[in-house]
Subunit: 347 residues, 2 copies
């Protein structure tokens, strides 16, 4: 059995201690400077206060100052930070990881590259590390909320990375009867698809708030409008994955992830508030203190799409839903879904 | 303005009277022999008893014996029967329709052709009509439940047919501020995608019942397992559309339709009961009297897939979810989702 060190004690990183523990591995969970109270709680009684679950017995908790000790003898490092922690992870954690030690990151998102390019985090991190150091940087995509993984519900994900042998090894370490792992060398496609779902889950959730505005809160949910937006979201996600050089087979991981995110917490709540007619500023005020990866990814992708449109690399008109969500977020425009822009004549 | 005659007074055919009426057309709604009470109610007070909505004022109701009168001077015939009524519609209605009069069918499904082929209903109906008569047979696909269309909620559909000029004309007749219409000449792709969603919505719903069995009815819904099945459903649907010769762009109509159907009534209810552990026979008994298009389409498609696999035209292993649902339905096997068959190594 192996030693698995998770750096970042947020919900998803911590939830991975379930399959890791169930496979008999030693699990070391290291909090960032933002996770002090979480780690203190786990050290005291094994309870994770934001995941709201008891971690498996034997999971060892470490404060960030104890990182070196936690990395000692490890066979795998799981990067458990959110997209807002990628810089910190790259600067403060990756340099301490020896080259033979593979990294598997749960972070979903895309980084801004030069000239309007979008870069998946594993590539971004490798570029930041520079040529002096090379690590095996892999990532997890696909539909999996942390709560449900912690409850050992069936969850299907994809591990992506450059080296399929390493991917199969990581799969062997973490696959359980409930945690189902595909592997893919299409880092760009998988990472783009599962990052984009945050932006598009926000857009589908707009329909929930719109109906509440028209018919009253607590009315029957409206699935026709949601489904119209879901279909358009899939169309735009697939087009973006294709434009970024990702493979078609990777889109399904993003679409499954879109499905689970629409029913998840923060992104749905923001979309619903916007759909009800709140301005972006008002909605943010209601969601005080919540990190919104959906907002971050929408801005990054919309900016890249606009830049690439100016360069003649794509047509802005192919992404009417993304553009509208960005207008709401970045320009304070009211929700006014361009339904007719989603109709096509296929000949 | 035009005269639109709807034949089949089920929920979807009747709901189309909303956009038709809102565009100023004369709407004539003709019941089949199964719709006698519906038509009697509409004649009496305009209320549709299964749609549970008041139809727009001025919608004229006709019993089946009055079909000829209802067709007199019509500009469009909407076929409003379910997949179980296609034979009847083909035999008893189509021969009465003059060649210049286009038909637009709401029926979703696929017919069995020779040698394990699957045939979309417009092609099936034309073949049955024989060479003596040619009609413009078009169809509606895409995510749209009748209740929500009747409530004038935003709904996005696709009209498919051979002739794009006729499609644009039909779109012009029925498009409203809430009814959004794409058009496509890919009859095979659109019809396959939206027919398959019934089979796959059943499969995704299994996860709802499975969790209820494990954690108790009324527990928090489990979206990780649903999302895993949703992703797999999309993968298999796209592969089938491709194998049948449909175009990739048509898959999104089926995936949106899958989304809305999972939250709809009958198919979700059957999947949930099966997931809870009821046998197919027991589940059917609970759903007494309900027509189950999901069961019909699953059997037809699974049979065709098995036949084509025997002919070496496809690999049965590419459709593990469809095969499992068919085993449950056709062979009485218990639900035992082959999760690991949904994991892939993409290199």
């Amino acid at each position: 059995m192996s030693i698995i060190t998770v750096v970042g004690a947020g919900m998803m990183g911590s939830a991975l201690s379930m399959p890791a523990h169930d496979n008999g591995h030693t699990v070391r969970l290291v909090g960032t400077h933002l996770d002090r109270e979480i780690i203190a709680s786990i050290k005291e009684c094994g309870f994770h206060p934001t995941l709201k679950r008891q971690l498996p017995p034997g999971v060892e908790a470490f404060q960030i100052e104890e990182l070196e000790a936690a990395l000692e003898g490890a066979d795998l490092v799981i990067g458990g930070v959110s997209s807002f922690g990628v810089e910190w992870f790259t600067q403060h954690v990756l340099p301490k990881i020896p080259s033979h030690l593979p990294v598997l990151s749960v972070t979903k998102g895309l980084a801004e590259g030069p000239g309007g390019r979008l870069v998946p985090f594993p590539h971004y991190m490798q570029a930041k590390l520079g040529q002096g150091k090379s690590l095996s940087l892999n990532a997890i995509g696909g539909p999996c909320t942390s709560y449900e993984l912690a409850d050992r519900r069936h969850s299907a994900v994809c591990f992506c990375g450059e080296d399929s042998e390493i991917l199969e090894r990581l799969k062997g370490m973490l696959e359980t009867a409930y945690y189902h792992i595909s592997t893919s060398t299409d880092v760009m496609g998988v990472e783009a698809a599962v990052a984009l779902k945050n932006a598009y889950a926000l857009s589908v959730s707009l329909a929930i708030g719109l109906i509440e505005r028209e018919e009253g809160v607590g009315c029957q949910e409206a699935y026709n409008p949601q489904a119209a937006l879901f279909g358009q979201a899939m169309r735009e996600m697939a087009a973006l994955v294709h434009l970024l050089g990702g493979r078609e087979e990777s889109v399904a991981f993003g679409v499954g992830d879109l499905y689970v995110t629409i029913f998840g917490g923060r992104t749905r709540r923001l979309g619903t508030l916007l759909g009800r007619g709140l301005s972006f500023e008002e909605a943010l005020a209601e969601l005080e203190g919540v990190t919104l990866e959906s907002v971050a990814i929408t801005k990054v992708v919309a900016k890249a799409v606009r830049t690439q449109a100016q360069q003649g690399l794509l047509r802005l008109g192919d992404f009417p839903l993304l553009m509208h969500v960005d207008e709401i977020i970045s320009q304070g425009k009211p929700v006014n879904i361009p339904w007719k822009a989603f109709t096509y004549s296929f000949r």
